[in-house]
């Protein structure tokens, strides 16, 4: 169970489907870890269902149903038999919410072809997988105990910790935590001592390193 969650507004925008694709990835990733937020999204989906019931219906084309019927294929019997099968216990456990990136990563997190940024920080870029203009999306790996140079954000940054943890001026974060930062924050995350920290970062504008490290700005993107 994680300690830092998306706020109600973020969860609502997600349930309503009015957030961007990169934001939805960060929320979905957090949902993999967090029972409470899954429950809340479920409630917000119910709200969507209830609103659908109370919406003023629009008239549909007269022949729309028949033409739709003509395009549908009968359900195969085998398919039904499959559905009827009880899931095995292990399937039941993993079924809650699957890691949305699972299908798209070539290997396990540990074995990814990480791209080195500095001696202690590396990334695996996902920007093209998400492919939304103006957003940078990546997995980040900070070696145990390493510090990311102090930086601010031009836009906002969402971070979801997938393993390990880090701390910054505002708190200590662990697996599953969802951290939102905007332009008003200046921070320098430090990975916890005992293990490497891997997280998903979603950024809607490039980072700006401050202080001495500003020379890095043109060369290094934390995302």
């Amino acid at each position: 169970m994680s300690g830092y969650h998306p706020d109600d507004m973020t969860l609502m925008n997600y349930a309503a489907g009015s957030c961007t694709i990169p934001e939805s990835l960060a929320v979905a990733m957090h949902l993999c870890f967090c029972h409470d937020c899954r429950q809340h999204v479920k409630n917000l989906n119910h709200l969507g269902g209830a609103l659908l019931e109370t919406i003023k219906p629009a008239s549909t084309d007269d022949d729309a149903f028949e033409s739709l019927m003509a395009s549908l294929e009968p359900h195969a019997q085998s398919e039904i038999a499959q559905v009827k099968m009880e899931p095995t216990p292990s399937e039941k456990i993993t079924q809650h919410f699957t890691n949305p990136l699972l299908r798209y990563l070539p290997t396990s997190l540990a074995d990814l072809p990480w791209q080195r940024q500095t001696k202690e920080i590396s990334k695996y870029d996902l920007t093209s997988l998400i492919n939304v203009k103006g957003f940078q999306v990546a997995l980040q790996k900070i070696n145990a105990g390493a510090k990311v140079p102090k930086h601010t954000h031009k836009g906002f940054e969402y971070t979801v910790i997938l393993s390990g943890g880090f701390s910054d001026e505002l708190g200590v974060y662990h697996e599953g935590d969802f951290i939102a930062r905007d332009a008003s924050h200046k921070h320098s995350p430090t990975a916890l001592q005992n293990e490497d920290c891997i997280c998903l970062t979603v950024l809607n504008a490039p980072l700006k390193f401050t202080g001495w490290y500003r020379v890095l700005n043109p060369f290094m993107a934390w995302s």
């Binding site: 609502m12 489907g17 003023k56 219906p57 549909t60 019927m69 359900h75």
Partner: protein, 200 residues
């Protein structure tokens, strides 16, 4: 023999005595039951279309209806009361298809991108208690939203059903952005409290 029952369900505009949508879906999946599917279509298609129009689909509104209803037909066998009530289930399909259509329209070339279904999964919890919980939750949500002040409902509706950003809602209602955010926040807080009270 089952067909007769479905026909009598077609005139179900009364809200108190809603048909057992789950049973109708099961008949669609098991028997390709056209009458059952028609009953579902007649109730939900006009609502999906209204949603599509509100979301600015205008001439593509019927496309969304067809996509959603096709998906309902294909996945009828996967519906389970332990996932959600049928209207919630159809809401989530509608939302996902809307996002999918928009994403496809914006796509310039064939490329591997993350699927909408991966990003917006229907969260599941695997207990049988859930099915009872879901049905009562649906009723509960209906009563809960009746208790919200009209101004908060309007803001919620615009976000959920018109896909409006908070800025657009503010502009449309001619009120400050802070007021919109305040109304949404209040309504969510109230709902959260109501949900939490209920779970205990």
């Amino acid at each position: 023999m089952t067909t007769k029952k479905a026909v009598s369900m077609n005139d179900s505009t009364a809200t108190n005595d809603a048909p057992d949508w789950g049973a109708l879906l099961a008949r669609v999946a098991e028997n390709d039951d056209k009458a059952a599917f028609r009953a579902i279509y007649q109730h939900f298609a006009p609502r999906i279309k209204a949603y599509a129009i509100n979301q600015g689909f205008s001439q593509h509104a019927e496309v969304l209806v067809q996509e959603v209803m096709t998906s309902v037909w294909r996945n009828a066998g996967k519906y389970s009361e332990s996932l959600a009530s049928v209207s919630t289930w159809i809401f989530t399909i509608t939302r996902n298809q809307r996002i999918d259509i928009l994403r496809k329209l914006n796509r310039t070339r064939a490329e591997v991108v993350i699927e909408t279904e991966e990003l917006w999964q229907i969260p599941t919890e695997d207990t049988t208690i859930c099915s009872i919980q879901n049905l009562s939750t649906e009723k509960f949500v209906k009563t809960a939203i009746d208790k919200l002040p009209e101004e908060q409902m309007i803001a919620l509706r615009k976000v959920y059903y018109e896909g409006k950003t908070h800025e657009e809602v503010a502009e449309e209602l001619n009120i400050p952005l802070g007021t919109v955010k305040g109304r949404l926040r209040l309504s969510l807080q109230k709902l959260r409290v109501m949900f939490e009270d209920k779970e205990i």
